[in-house]
Symmetry: C2
Subunit: 331 residues, 2 copies
Amino acid sequence: MASEIRQNKATKQWVIFAPGRGKRPSDFRRPPSGKDPIPDHDPGCPFCPGNEGMLPSITLETAGLNDSWQTRVVPNKFPALSQDGASDRYRRGLYLAMNGYGVHEVVIESPVHNRNLAQMEPGEVELVVETYHRRYVELMNQHGNMMTLIFRNHGWQAGTSLVHPHSQIIVTGMVPAHIRWREEQAQRYFDESGRCVYCDILEFEARDRGRVIAENESFLSFVPFAAEVPFEMWIIPTRHQACFSNLTDREKSGLASILKFCLARLHHKLGDPDFNYIINTAARYKAHEPQLHWYLQIRPRLTTEAGFEIGSGIKINPSLPEEDAAFLRGD
Amino acid sequence: MASEIRQNKATKQWVIFAPGRGKRPSDFRRPPSGKDPIPDHDPGCPFCPGNEGMLPSITLETAGLNDSWQTRVVPNKFPALSQDGASDRYRRGLYLAMNGYGVHEVVIESPVHNRNLAQMEPGEVELVVETYHRRYVELMNQHGNMMTLIFRNHGWQAGTSLVHPHSQIIVTGMVPAHIRWREEQAQRYFDESGRCVYCDILEFEARDRGRVIAENESFLSFVPFAAEVPFEMWIIPTRHQACFSNLTDREKSGLASILKFCLARLHHKLGDPDFNYIINTAARYKAHEPQLHWYLQIRPRLTTEAGFEIGSGIKINPSLPEEDAAFLRGD
């Protein structure tokens, strides 16, 4: 069945209904019973070399060192959204709904089944960033694509359904309330102060030092002042830019090296915890606005959201950002 | 250490930092290794009769059938918030923060260690509802308490740290962005249509029938059109009322019976899944507004939020509300 997107009449939030997703591979859905070593090749894995017959098609490929592929982009075999049908909204009785219009892709980060970003060479991570960027630019050039979200789920508690290192890209045909809210708050700040709130945060953190994890000539990484979860990290470009598409080649290399550094710290200091990361970037039509600034957000999955968090939207973080940062830096 | 509440400068969302919460009992924090039968009394449980010495104090008690207590309200031993100190906001460099002002209480729902709401007699559930209501009215009469959230975490995946049947009450000294957003959307709807959006939803669902689970003279329960998770249920009073404090005695009994029915359906049809429920009610100063309408929301924890949900705020629900409702009704 095709998916449908429905609007919550009371809050105007959209929900994607994707019954086909029930059929996803579930090899990693249950808590892993101990940490068995993962092999570097799995004959049953659709993302491993030699198993191309299990892929719907290959959208993009980048070459590695020895002429073989290094990263690949493929359509998600169990997509939450697809470009069949229009993105028009329609009435369902009292409610508003729309077709499940969108794009759902997988970025295979390496041909090696057990090679994670934290363990890759800088050049390999750079190819992952390059792949993200090429798909982002291409997808945002297509009419009707309103928002492109690049994200990574690592480990069972972070929602992974396949072990092989991969990220995902989802494009939607609308801008959700969550992102509108963030954009509106940045707009208000800009209207009051004439400044990008993210640039102000960046400058404050770079001066304050207490929450900084790492920096290079293009990026700063830090634990945010109001981190929602223990060891949350932001990686933010020091040059003001609303949209991920603005990334220069030099910045791609800076992003790869700081991302690898932060993930390696997480991996070694916390014993390879489950995590998500997300590239938070401007929605279409906001890509050139002076008040927005993209950033990559890493969220380890060490706590459980309970009723209070769901009902109030307030997170309870048992960990202090300054202490988390000192721990990750290794002070 | 006392807790602090910090504001995210970019989104204006508040986060509670509660380092003391690290010391909580964690007997249920790991996935239970199979379903061992739970005894009806546990000598190590602070909520069981005879262990009152383990409680900080007892705030409220209701009497059961045979002169013993049936429900109790006690302070949370590891509170996320407390009423020590003021609720004033202060500057922390670029940022805004406030003391961890608030209230954090536990509602012990029964003296019996293994007796859940789904298994209780209607009169017992009614005493739980009565206890909620008495605390709600009392807490919202205290100056400085801006929002009272009553919620229940059932099972490990829902964030429970103790097995003994209990709910929690958290009061905050501010109204979070999440709730302001919901109230603003209701205000807009009212300004455009002159109607309470929740009354419109209620009437539509009662007529449509497709998503209805149960009803009685005071309440309707249904799977919402844009349910965020499989088997989400709303229980909403049919009489328009913004605030949970408005509940009449007759309605308390109606709420108890439909709540028990819905939880029993979940328990029997889905094999006692983990869930949260939350009473979504008006913040202080909104308690008498014509556009708001409180409701109880039940959210089973059968799916995992991944990077897309975190980054976009859009949920992906693999299950259709109409099918979920039919399954719960037993069609």
